[in-house]
């Protein structure tokens, strides 16, 4: 390891931390982006359409595709029989083996489940052919609600499993039973959290080919990891990792985790391409996406807090049931475990009991979604804190402040295993209260109430974990089961930085961005490290599992770019810098510690007339390897892998540090409710973040705005709704409402950043915090406005009007 320069050059302002113009925008703003449907990687590509189940639960008696196959231009109809013959069930990390394939085999388990794939000359014809396939179904009674799935007599969806409760584990951390026995009060809460997702503007897309000569499936798809799923897909297809080559296009039109679940379609279309003998393109349409894409879980929780009269929380107990839909698909059961190590949130809660269950029902299966598990977890915790204050007759701020971690308690070891790196939660909360002018807000609320109106204030203080530990999901397995397999840990990411013989720089990422601005930040980091111009750096976001640097944790999820990938990029750039500085030191006849890379040159510290262009140094490494110092490799092409040593596998006592770093946010919200219509108006929303070192303020605020929009949608609009018979009620954007620009309330953003001592750049993730916090903060405000204990999301006008009617009955 070569030491960094003794002092930084004064004439070298850092790009990192500034809001430079985004690398991505010229292409995106001129329509020159290259998304999956813009690509034509193979000649003679045919089009696929997917026949989907109209039933939530039914046995497939017979499929007759003869009429479809007879149509001119139809090459193949692939059914569950083919899929069962050509693939294995996907693996998943729970104790129960659910037979999950990319297509229904002998039963359908949710509306929209693939039943057959048509491969035809064009998509129009493929859809015509779908209508020509006749499927005989035998209708079976559906299981829709979590409560139904929990009933011992509920008919199992998967006969081989025998129960709709497919996972169950209990955990105790600290002296929870004693705390409940000694508590002054025990405060209880039952909450139900709805099923919704993030609806990226670009739907799933797969272009698959089977390379007969190599025996390799070659796939282009807007898949963004986690690349652990590459192993899951290769396993399902029964091929070695190097026989499933996945290309990710340079641009992906949003995902928020949702597109990770394109992976079953990668397998399905791979099989279809192999059977049809041609490359196959499938671009999912919106109807398909809304019924059969992905969402986060709906969750039922029975929570208890053991508290002292002064508001101190001694322990919490959570009995939580996640509904994973028809199958538990990897990376589930992660939704239930993503927050496991930090389930106590921003509070000092010394003891915790957790009873976790997962049920399957006849709904769309779940997967990653922005906030993943956080919105469910904080809805319980932050409602519970409000209930504690109400029960004890204490101001909410007094209860929050009494339990909120103090700056001197970091690094803080949460009982279930998370190690919070750094933060000053009280200062961030104080800033949020000051920005919201909290006392004036209280006065305004009280005045509106006195005038007979409904107004309320919501507060939330949450920890935002980022950079997930690859080992955390294995906490779902017992210690004995974990011992039977390779331990999993870390958060590895990789990057490559290369300098060509002309001295320009190319960076290659494994992070498969979907618009976040990874190219921009990568170029900022590399420009600073190599002292070259931002504009002279090209960042390749395209991913190719056969040529890109990557590892099991690679990809875009868990807000891992800022804390993790940035470090891999920096490490790769430093390898290049070291090589350049080593060569420069020899050229300039100074010690390497005295070489600074700046302005496209290597400069001798203290004697700035002594310098050599980096282009010349790169040229040396490429053109004249004979002249290189002994032991130095020719060329300038460096890959670095980075992980955090702190992220260990789950320990024998079932603790796990589920994420690399832990940001924080404090939110304050003011709502009014129109008594006539039940409409909730968010009059004011303040959010104050601690995301550690800010890599790019423009991107940070953009992430906060976006995360807020998703949380706002979850609070007031979005629900993947099914009726009691399992029919989907939200199958179009006229029924599944998402907020648009017109609905967005004013959002004010503040920052109280404490750099992380755990990550090389001091950054923490920031993409998901408001997706986690906003649903409960708005719910707290509406509950305050209506004077109600129970509020269920989404708080649509129709639902709020019903709550108002109930309230009027209760207090005539």
């Amino acid at each position: 390891m070569i030491a960094p320069p003794r002092t930084a050059s004064p004439e070298r302002p850092k790009l990192l931390g500034t809001g430079v113009a985004r690398k991505e925008d010229p292409a995106l703003l001129t329509g020159a982006g290259r998304f999956i449907d813009d690509l034509s990687p193979f000649p003679n590509t045919h089009h696929a359409a997917i026949l989907r189940s109209p039933y939530p639960h039914a046995r497939i008696v017979a499929i007759d595709a003869s009429e479809a196959l007879a149509m001119d231009g139809v090459l193949a109809v692939v059914t569950g029989r083919d899929v069962a013959a050509m693939s294995k069930p996907f693996s998943v990390g729970i104790e129960t083996k659910l037979p999950f394939y990319s297509c229904a085999i002998d039963k359908v388990h949710y509306v929209g489940e693939p039943v057959a794939v048509v491969v035809a000359r064009d998509r129009y014809l493929a859809e015509d052919a779908l209508e020509a396939i006749s499927v005989e179904y035998e209708d079976l009674p559906p299981v829709v609600r979590i409560e139904d799935a929990l009933r011992p007599d509920s008919a199992p969806l998967h006969e081989s499993v025998g129960s709709n409760v497919v996972h169950q584990r209990s955990f105790t951390y600290g002296a929870a039973d004693e705390a409940f026995a000694q508590a002054d009060e025990i405060v209880e809460l039952e909450v139900s959290f709805p099923k919704y997702g993030s609806t990226p503007i670009e739907t799933y897309g797969v272009i698959a080919n089977y390379d007969l000569g190599a025996g390799t499936y070659v796939v282009h798809a807007n898949f963004h990891g986690p690349f652990v799923l590459h192993a899951v897909m290769a396993g399902a297809l029964g091929v070695a990792g190097n026989h499933l080559r996945i290309h990710v296009p340079p641009d992906i039109g949003g995902s928020y985790g949702i597109k990770a679940l394109v992976y079953p379609y990668i397998v399905l279309l791979s099989i279809a391409a192999r059977i049809a003998g041609v490359p196959v393109r499938w671009i999912e349409d919106r109807l398909e996406h809304l019924q059969a894409g992905s969402s986060s879980t709906d969750r039922l929780t029975w929570a208890k807090a053991a508290v002292r009269r002064d508001g101190t929380i001694l322990a919490i107990a959570l009995d939580q049931v996640d509904n994973c839909g028809a199958y538990v698909r990897a990376p589930e059961p992660a939704c239930l475990y993503r927050m496991h190590g930090s389930v106590t949130g921003a509070y000092r809660i010394p003891a915790v009991k957790i009873d976790n269950r997962i049920v399957v029902t006849n709904k769309l299966p779940t997967g990653l979604n922005r906030g993943y598990g956080g919105q469910e977890q904080y809805f319980t915790l932050e409602r519970l804190v409000v209930r504690v204050a109400q029960r004890l007759g204490l101001p909410i701020l007094e209860v929050i402040r009494r339990n909120l971690l103090r700056a001197d308690e970091f690094p803080y070891h949460a009982p279930p295993g998370s190690i919070y790196d750094a933060g000053d939660y009280h200062r961030a909360l104080d800033r949020a209260l000051a920005m919201a002018d909290y006392d004036a807000l209280v006065a305004r609320r009280d005045a509106e109430r006195a005038a007979g109106k409904f107004a309320g204030i919501g507060i939330g203080c949450i920890v935002e974990p980022s950079g997930s530990n690859m080992g955390y999901v294995s906490i779902a397995l017992t210690r004995e089961m974990r011992d039977g397999s390779l331990p999993k840990s870390g958060c590895t990411e990789a990057a490559t930085v290369a300098m060509d013989p002309l001295g320009s720089v190319t960076v290659r990422l494994g992070t498969t961005p979907q618009g976040q601005g990874h190219q921009t930040v990568a170029a900022q980091i590399v420009a600073d490290e190599l002292g070259v111009r931002y504009d002279d750096i090209e960042v390749v976001a395209e991913m190719d599992t056969q040529t890109s640097p990557w590892s099991i944790a690679s990809g875009s999820y868990s807000s891992r770019f800022a804390p993790i990938a940035s470090a891999a990029i920096q490490a790769a750039a430093r390898k290049v810098a070291t090589k350049l500085r080593t060569l420069a030191a020899r050229e300039l006849e100074v010690a390497i510690e005295d070489v600074v890379l700046t302005g496209g040159k290597a400069v001798a510290l203290g004697d700035e007339k002594k310098s050599v262009p980096v282009k010349r140094l790169a040229g040396l490494a490429h053109w004249n390897p004979v002249a290189l110092p002994p032991g130095m490799e020719p060329g300038v092409f460096e890959t670095a892998y980075f992980s955090l040593p702190i992220l260990a596998p789950p320990s024998d006592d079932d603790t796990v540090d589920s994420s690399a770093v832990y940001g924080f946010l404090a939110d304050v919200c003011y709502v009014t409710v129109d008594a006539d219509t039940g409409r909730v108006t968010v009059e004011q929303y303040v959010t104050v973040h601690d995301c550690g070192t800010v890599l790019n303020p423009k991107l940070v605020d953009g992430q906060i705005q976006g995360g807020f929009a998703h949380g706002f949608g979850g609070a007031l609009f979005e629900e993947m709704a099914y009726d009691d018979d399992g029919a989907l009620l939200s199958g179009t954007f006229a029924d599944y409402l998402i907020p648009t620009a017109t609905e967005m309330p004013p959002l004010r953003i503040g920052h109280e950043n404490v750099p992380s001592p755990f990550t090389p750049l001091g950054a923490k993730g920031v993409g998901e915090g408001n997706s986690m916090s906003v649903p409960v903060v708005i719910a707290n405000a509406v509950a305050d406005a209506l004077g109600l204990d129970d509020v269920t999301l989404p708080l649509t006008p129709g639902r709020v009007w019903s709550l108002l009617a109930q309230r009027a009955e209760a207090h005539p």
Binding site: L287, D676, L729, S730, A734, T742, P797, G798
Partner: protein, 290 residues
């Protein structure tokens, strides 16, 4: 989301269009702005064997003729909304059009197309009913004019015969002491209304008693619901009258429910919106005409 195959006709004149409809009307659909039809075709909810694209027709009248505003078949909703003439002479259209879809859909969508589509949650059928507009329907056999009350038959169903084309609509223009109001409740701006309401009224000269009053509620049944207001003519529109009319609206509508808005909620909103448009319409009467 690709439509089933269809034959495509693109007549250049009204006569040609009526010939095509005369020949194939039973299996044809008329394409004007396409903002409702095309999505329905892409989802294969609508699968006409023939599409008659009338966009080359010269049906662009937007002018006051006598005591009515005439709107041609191909006048886009945004053109109506942007018209100073409309704002001055048929203000209710100008009040309602900002609620119709979005700027982008209004740029293509036609006023007459929305009437012919007859979506029970759409705004323009409510306005047409409240103003007692007339709709001109032409066929090879000639032209007939239907009042809004005859025209709207059921959800997505009008009295238009298969060989007929809506060639225009006429809306009565504002007279001395007329007042108008439109309001609706939707979860998001630009959505179809959960419930909408329109009111037109005329106050007697000299005193403020009602010489005419129409109250129409949308989104609560197969066609816009006309609330019976007869008992109120010749009397002032005071608080008591507003309350009684709102109560009648709430009682007389027969709404359906869905997962976002129950029938009871829609019924309640019918009363809320009735109250709001009655008050706003009274306010809309020009003071200088008193």
């Amino acid at each position: 989301m690709k439509p089933a195959a269809f034959a495509y006709h693109q007549p250049a004149t009204r006569a040609e269009a009526l010939d095509v409809l005369g020949e194939y009307g039973e299996e044809a659909k008329v394409l004007a702005g396409g903002q409702s039809l095309v999505p329905a075709m892409n989802m294969r909810f609508a699968r006409p064997a023939r599409l008659v694209d009338v966009n080359r027709l010269d049906e662009l009248t937007l002018a006051v003729e006598g005591d009515a505003l005439a709107v041609g078949a191909l006048v886009r909703q945004n053109d109506v909304l942007g018209s100073a003439l409309v704002r001055e002479r048929v203000p209710l259209l100008a009040y309602a059009l900002p609620f119709v879809g979005h700027w982008q859909t209004r740029s293509r969508g036609t006023l007459c197309g929305s009437l012919a589509h007859a979506d029970p949650s759409a705004e323009l059928p409510v306005v047409a009913t409240a103003l007692d507009a007339t709709i001109a329907c032409a066929s090879r056999g000639g032209e007939r004019v239907l009042g809004a009350a005859q025209f709207f038959v059921s959800h997505f169903t009008t009295a238009l015969a298969p060989d007929e084309l809506v060639v225009g609509a006429r809306f009565p223009v504002r007279q001395g002491r007329d007042g108008y109001a439109f309001d609706e409740f939707a979860e998001r701006h630009g959505d179809f209304a959960i419930v909408s309401a329109a009111c037109t009224l005329r106050l007697a000269k000299g005193d403020d008693t009602l010489a005419a009053l129409r109250l129409v509620i949308g989104g609560v049944g197969e066609v816009p619901a006309v609330i019976d207001t007869t008992g109120h003519l010749g009397r002032p529109l005071d608080d008591e009258a507003v309350a009684s009319l709102a109560a009648r609206a709430e009682r007389d509508v027969d709404p359906f429910g869905d997962h976002r808005a129950s029938a009871a909620y829609r019924r309640h909103l019918a009363g809320v919106l009735a109250r709001r448009v009655l008050r706003a319409a009274a306010h809309d009467v020009r003071k200088e005409d008193a």
